[in-house]
Amino acid sequence: MDNLRLPYWALCTALALAVTFVVRDPYLASIVNLISIAALVAVSLRFVMLIGELNFATAAFMGLGAYAAGAATTILHWPFALALVFGGVVAAAISIVFGYITLRTRGPYFLLIGFAFTEAVRILYSKSMALGGTSGMVGIFPPVGFDAWMPSLIMAVAAVLIFALYVLERSDFGKILTAIRDNENVARTVGLNILLCKVACFAIASFAAGIAGGLHAFANNVISPGDFSFLVAAFALAYVKVGGEDNIVGPLVGTILLVTLGSFALGLGGQEHIFYGAAIILAVLLLPDGITGLARRGYQRLAARKGH
């Protein structure tokens, strides 16, 4: 395993946590929560992109995690931490079954089946009376003492998971995943069980998405089927694409930038959809490698000039 750049990670996480300690305004705190959760979803989406697939079922697994955590809290009265982990485990367990069937297909088929799955699951929640139907599930509160520290807690959980996904990406397992993306058949000739590796990658990403869903449920106290439409995955894709998909820093940069700008545009009375749509179109047309790609090219050009 090569250099994990631990000092940078420690510094950035510490800075991010420091921000959550300073923020006391409820509106700003909600934006910080939004950024932490969206960043985790975007990194989860990008993790499946390592095997070369676009995982639109991310939104479904986020929803499954949120509903599982919500049901564990409101119906079973489980403690907070257990409910959160339960959300992730449920999402991962369902994703193993779903992935085992659908990961035999590739490219557009996998993408579209994920999209259909998201919509089917969303119809299931809205028809289930135990889960609150169309109006959703209410009263998913974290323990009383935690209220003031929720932004810090959410940020910390998201940071731990994002770091874990980064470690996995840099490990030998991550190299197998990129090998599958580059050429599945070559990877198969080495004796790797491709389907198993793909399902493992998918389940890990879905666990992260499920935890993100649980965090979303505890941050907002209310969840409804409308929160988990395919737009969740579309927005996550925008964060990944605008930030740049080559590096795990890309989705983080994209999330912070777009969520902040989006909240600002919403404050101006602008239309969120037009804003995100235009951002995605401009990003794919003008910045094929995203912001981090642009920054790296600029840096390389600068370095080359210094060399002369």
């Binding site: 089946i113 919509e119 959809h273 037009i274 179109i281 047309l285």
Partner: protein, 291 residues
């Protein structure tokens, strides 16, 4: 027996629109290897234009049928302009790049969602009845409008099928969708064929939208439902296959109608999803897919 005929007729009516819709999706995928989520918006703008112009023209004392036909012409024209803009400023740069083109189409979906809502407003708008009366087929009543829709859809599908198998353009489109490099070696101008394929698909979406407008309630969000069903139809049939799109469209419509009749709409949607899972388990490339 009566119920069975009624159910078959309803499936054919719904299926007719799904077929037109999924033919466009499968054509674009076959020729350009892109997944266009904004296809539903091409369909929606056509339905919206019809819903806007027909009451307007009827207000000038024009009879219903000419007003509707003028509305259809306007709708197809507007949709083709939108499709042209999408191709020239967007998809042209993302041919055979599934991820890139898909992301672009998601951007277009969000942008057009917002723009349609601003321009047309969120309210649903009814279209006045074009062809009054009902027809009885084998003892089952069908409104004349829905029958006309089916007939029009069958004619359009047959024309497309004929064009794809008999004309030079159709043969070029099929050649490109089987192997674009081999087609180019044979002298097929790929860029021009891709453009033609995209515009034909836009025209199909426009016709589907214009046909559905009088028999449903039109809102800016009308495309989303058909988009999901249309994509399921092409997954079942096999992306890029024209007979597959027809088969898939009929399949989805039949399950939706029968399931909706004996259970409810939700179970029907879940059943459609299960059907897709079963098809993918047996044939990961769809029933008639190859490439």
């Amino acid at each position: 027996m009566h119920t069975a005929i009624q159910l078959i007729l309803t499936s054919l009516q719904i299926g007719a629109v799904y077929i037109l819709f999924s033919l466009g999706l499968t054509l674009i995928f076959g020729v350009m290897r892109i997944v266009n989520f904004a296809h539903g918006h091409l369909f929606a703008i056509s339905a919206l234009v019809v819903a806007y112009t027909v009451p307007l023209l009827a207000g000038w004392n024009l009879p219903a049928l000419p007003a509707y036909l003028l509305g259809v012409v306007a709708a197809v024209a507007v949709t083709l302009v939108l499709g042209f803009l999408m191709y020239v400023f967007g998809f042209r740069y993302f041919q055979r790049d599934m991820v890139g083109s898909f992301i672009l189409s998601i951007g277009l979906v969000l942008l057009l969602d917002g723009v349609f809502l601003k321009v047309f407003g969120g309210a649903v708008r009814p279209v006045p009845e074009i062809l009054p009366g009902t027809v009885t087929i084998l003892g089952a009543p069908v409104t004349a409008q829905r029958l006309a829709l089916c007939v029009a859809a069958v004619i359009i599908t047959a024309l497309l099928y004929w064009a794809m198998t008999r004309t030079k353009l159709g043969k070029a489109l099929r050649a490109v969708s089987i192997d674009h490099e081999a087609a180019m070696l044979q002298g097929v101008p790929y860029g021009r064929i891709a453009f033609a394929g995209f515009m034909i698909a836009s025209a199909l979406a426009a016709l589907a939208g214009a046909l559905i407008a009088p028999v449903t309630i039109v809102s800016p969000a009308i495309g989303a439902d058909y988009l999901i069903k249309g994509f399921i139809a092409v997954i079942v049939g096999g992306l890029g296959s024209v007979p597959g799109a027809i088969l898939g469209g009929l399949f989805v419509a039949a399950i939706e109608t029968v399931g909706g009749f004996y259970f409810d709409a939700t179970s029907a949607t879940i059943a459609i999803f299960l059907l897709v899972i079963v098809v993918l388990l047996v044939r990961p490339k769809g029933l008639l897919g190859h490439g």
